[in-house]
Amino acid sequence: MTLLRSALAGGAILIIGVGVFYGVLQNQATDQAVKSRSVETSKPSLNSSLSVAITPMGSDNGKPIDDITALRGEVFLLRAEVSSLRRQMLTQTQSQPSASIDATSDNPDKNLRIDPLARAEAENNRKKQMAAVESDFRKERSDPKWSSRTTSLVQNILNIDDVTRAETRSVECRSQSCRIEIVDDGSGELSKTMPLLAQRFASSFPNISADQIDQGNGKVTTVLYISNETSQRK
């Protein structure tokens, strides 16, 4: 019995050691506090850890030998898991070019900056997404009354600013959303104005999806899809 307890205590000390090791690694990478509401996003994993660890321990059914055997099995599995995680962590750390840890290293898009194929794929995906947005807009029912009233409202907002007044090519509203085309001459004026334009639309159309179409002459047409939908395309 004493031997078993000693073994279990040894296992526990090992786990603490590994936990502290990873804690130190994590602190080197980040030192961020988590606000109470933000804990909601991390609670599930923490709670699941708690339940995994505590549930078998809380069931005292009068069979201490069985409990200890079960605990030994659990400690064995945990040690294996710790070992596996430790190896993963070491592999990731060694693969970093510098001491800084890239938080996106697990992301499948990690080669986007250096891999032309990955970049082309990302751009292709983006085109597909915006084609779907365009398609949704075209499928939207047309409500002439709403369209006329809303087009006028949108035009008034666009006319507030010199850049958007001069560079807007078209405004089309259907029954819930509008499509606006604005030409960007590359001077940076539209880039400066665009965030303020989005704010002017905020009360009527809080959601904006944007697409850019290269005109091939140094100019880019920015297409805005504005809507007041509470949830946007996923």
């Binding site: 961020q32 005292d60 900056r113 704010q199 904006i208």
Partner: protein, 153 residues
């Protein structure tokens, strides 16, 4: 003995579990600065946040640190305060790494007292290398403060 071992295992697992996910990023409102160059002296800072001491509303831009995981999307909380009945409009913007405007979402807060508003953009508008910023137009006379912007990830 059982309880002690349970706690030890829990602590060890918690340390490991937390390393596997992105951590939220809480930004003080003091990171926000004037959007227009000429309004630099209109924007005033407190330890708790940023306000506008000009009589007219002013826009401030707040860059956000983002550490996306493979699950892309963008979500933030904006916290602020109105002294008396005021209006604050904030917009969350996403721009791709090449400067492309991807999308935005806004709220307009009217009334007095504290506010805590949520903004989110779906995955297509917040890919891995997109950057986020929040632009807020806040009331004049120091009657509105942006306390903080918290990125949920």
């Amino acid at each position: 003995m059982k309880l002690l071992l349970s706690l030890v295992v829990t602590i060890g697992l918690s340390c490991l579990t937390l390393t596997a996910q992105a951590t939220n990023a809480n930004h003080s409102g003091t990171i926000c600065k004037n959007y227009n160059a000429s309004q630099v002296t209109d924007i005033d800072y407190l330890a708790s946040g940023t306000r506008n001491i000009n009589a007219s509303p002013r826009s401030i831009i707040c860059p956000l640190v983002r550490a996306p995981t493979s699950t892309n999307s963008a979500a933030v909380y904006v916290d602020g305060y109105h002294s008396g009945s005021q209006t604050t409009t904030c917009t969350l913007y996403s721009y791709n790494y090449n400067g492309t405007y991807l999308g935005s979402v806004s709220f307009t807060q009217t009334g007095s007292g504290a506010f805590d508003r949520y903004l989110s953009l779906p995955a297509p508008q917040a890919p891995t290398y997109a950057t986020l910023s929040v632009l807020c137009t806040i009331p004049g006379g120091g009657a509105g403060i942006i306390y903080d912007i918290d990125v949920i990830q």
